[in-house]
């Protein structure tokens, strides 16, 4: 079976003159939990929608489980689930009814999982959809996406409206799904601390292109901030140094962030610039900011 659940090749999507995805390439590997990061307007939602064939790009090739995204078979659709940022569900239905309604679309459905989650997530079966808060609506739409145990689960800002305890419950459920085996999860988020906990891979979208896609731990290992103190041979500009994301310098001191850190680097710089070099580990939020300088 294919190891690439989603493949996007040279995808360009523009709305009018505004280019949102700019010749983007992306492969989603089977069995990964991938977090998608990007500033507001970076194109995260567009990427997710194009990936599932919900929007049509101007050019490029997209496949899901090996099938063209715009022309998925019913069997493939039954293997995936998508939770959009904002959900519209029939407001007159009770939760019990909307669960039964969604259930009817799929060949299999995990009743015990849904019952348990409804209890854990404090969704009352007799409540009407129209009376739910934004957060409760988000919980309900996530829940409805899990019933058929999709092999591929795509979520757009799933935790945006959830309170901290609901967020933790949701993350625990995601992990439970990830632990249970052959499942692939792709989600966009602004909350880097959640991503740090549950994701094994991270994708950073910037100006319509993917500027980073690798294991989260590799990102943390390779992006570091270096403090250069009392340098006697600081170069006039650090722009030409490979891997520099951002730098600031005054006289004999400098702070620079790099995306190609290796344990030898501080020693080398210390020798070449005759300076004291200290290394700072960065968390994902700080890395995100470093990747978006300028």
């Amino acid at each position: 079976m294919t190891q690439k659940i989603i493949q996007m090749c040279h995808v360009t999507k523009a709305f009018g003159t505004k280019v949102v995805l700019d010749g983007l390439n992306f492969n989603l590997q089977r069995g990964t939990v991938t977090g998608l990061l990007g500033k507001n307007g970076a194109g995260k939602t567009t990427l997710l929608k194009c990936a599932l064939g919900l929007q049509t790009p101007q050019s490029g090739i997209i496949t899901v489980f090996g099938e063209p995204a715009r022309d998925l078979s019913a069997a493939t659709k039954a293997k995936l689930a998508y939770v959009p940022q904002e959900v519209t569900l029939y407001p007159w239905m009770k939760i019990r009814q909307i669960v039964a309604y969604s259930r009817a679309f799929y060949p299999r459905w995990n009743d015990s999982l849904i019952e348990r989650l409804m209890k854990d997530w404090e969704l009352g079966v007799e409540e009407r959809v129209g009376t739910l808060s934004t957060g409760q609506m988000q919980k309900l739409s996530i829940l409805l996406a899990l019933g058929h145990e999709p092999e591929l689960l795509v979520l757009d800002e799933p935790v945006a409206s959830l309170d901290p305890s609901a967020r933790r419950q949701f993350l625990a459920t995601l992990l439970e799904i990830a632990i249970s085996g052959d499942r692939t999860i792709l989600f966009s988020t602004h909350i880097t601390s959640d991503l740090e906990r549950v994701a094994d891979h991270v994708v950073v979208l910037k100006s319509g292109k993917i500027v980073y896609h690798d294991e989260l731990s590799a990102l943390k290992d390779s992006v570091k901030r270096l403090r250069i103190i009392n340098a006697r041979a600081l170069p006039a500009t650090m722009r030409d140094l490979p891997g520099v994301l951002h730098w600031e310098s005054t006289d004999a001191n400098a702070v620079l962030s790099v995306d190609n850190f290796s344990p030898e680097l501080p020693e080398r710089l210390s020798r070449e610039w005759q300076a004291e070099v200290t290394v700072e580990d960065l968390n994902l939020e700080e890395i995100f900011l470093e990747l978006h300088h300028g």
Binding site: A172, L175, S193, E276, N283, L284
Partner: protein, 132 residues
Amino acid sequence: MDPVLLFQINPSSGLPIYRQLMDQVRTLIGAGRLTEGDMVPSVRQIAEGLQINPMTVSKAWSLLERDGVLERVRGQGMRVLAAAKVRGTVKERQQTLQPLLEQVVAQAAQLSLSREQVLAAMAAALKELPGE
């Protein structure tokens, strides 16, 4: 005690979670809380208990296996190997302290402390060390 409780991680630290886990296994062995032959919790137990991604845990365990700290026991999980191998040479153990020392040096520079003043502070802190 639930062995998962021996571990604690901070996902928002700059140190990748797999490294935090690796460091903690080494520290627990160093402190004698894990000894030769002890089984470490499974990937699943750690992932569920600490609510972290299972691939992160298996990465930590595999690297510790590569380093000769843990060994895989068929059908049972991972077991702590002879503790002697873990302790390493003095130089290797000093190396572990290096990142912390660099932070101390940087902070000391910000605080305009002299070399002697830093060493004095360090000597005072070392009094807390058992066996000193």
